[in-house]
Symmetry: C2
Subunit: 206 residues, 2 copies
Amino acid sequence: MPPSAAPRPAKRSEPRERLLATASGLFYAEGIGSVGVNRIVSQSGVTLATFYRHFPGKEDLVVAYLRGVHDVVEQRASVLREEHRGADLVRAIGEEVASETGRPGFRGCAFINAASEFEDADSPVRRVVAEHRRWYYKLVRRAFDEAGHGYPGNAARHFLMLRDGAMTAGYLDGPVIARRTFGRGIDGLLRSIGLEPAVPHEDVED
Amino acid sequence: MPPSAAPRPAKRSEPRERLLATASGLFYAEGIGSVGVNRIVSQSGVTLATFYRHFPGKEDLVVAYLRGVHDVVEQRASVLREEHRGADLVRAIGEEVASETGRPGFRGCAFINAASEFEDADSPVRRVVAEHRRWYYKLVRRAFDEAGHGYPGNAARHFLMLRDGAMTAGYLDGPVIARRTFGRGIDGLLRSIGLEPAVPHEDVED
DNA sequence: TACCCAAGAGAGAACGATCGCTCTTGACTT
DNA sequence: AAGTCAAGAGCGATCGTTCTCTCTTGGGTA
């Protein structure tokens, strides 16, 4: 999921915020290992000393970056929970995923990408990733539960697997294929318990 | 690395092979950007000059690494194609995916991980990734076609999305969840056209 | 058989660049 | 007086890459 990297045109912002915003954009767009501290610092209009005054080290910046992405997703989810209920909420979350894959600059899930660069499952970065995934699972599971699904755990796991695949496909196969395939998958998941009307479908090349 | 240097293999293989084998192991286990040429070289018992005598640069080594992984998958697929037909072949490919996620040291899909480190879709590395994914799509699509699926393209896309998700889940959520969820998803995909008998299922926590 | 020589490999120095990070200094706020 | 910031020098390490030099090997020729 891409961070909502809204460029701060404001003349005056806290150095920490600018550092985090710059780092988030670069980390997501180019990968974490490919982006050096010096580049983040200079692109933020901040000095190296200032960076190390706000962050103990680069890893903490990475953790802050992922926490920021999580906060955006969580915020968005809470809005969706207010606007939708039951199966409609599941559909809304799915629509959120689908539209994410179509955003310009989309490069897949920030957490999955980050995890691929950190082999140690006990590292702070991987912990944040695991936390986020657990949170997401619970969110979807609760939605299926409230939708009256008999097996909300299974359904949520199924949903998450499709989501992870959709995020990957959105990056590597294109948003059109990702949206179409993901949409069909979610429809099928809801239809399997009578939560979605059956619709005609046609096969497509590529 | 501590001086516990691995004893030189009695039978000395070609330097190129050793370089590729070492690099493949390190690239997959730790990520491509995290592994330097010097480490690959010294761990291969080969000198820097020898490396650059066989590979124009690191990127070519990465391409060779991914091509090697592809060759293994392709080889395995051709065996499966000989042993299974129709829906059985689909199931066999699915079983292959599931068992992959359970292998010790499993860190997700080598191609997806590599792609996350290379932002330029036109780079040689990304091209190999795209090639592999196209090949895989055609493999599965043909299997569904021969299984008598009315919409083999849709089914193959669905399968691939579940596969990508399963590879991610196998790494980040554990092989047990990945196998179970993926298995259910594939079963549902086959059952939806009467290729799989309906079976009872129960919900699980986590 | 004796010789030569090109090719391949080992060993390692060294290139400029960048890595994450520490430190100092001086100007400007509280 | 204390704290934050810009500016920037500099740390040791590593990055990918190029280089020289020596040793071994195998094959062709005499």
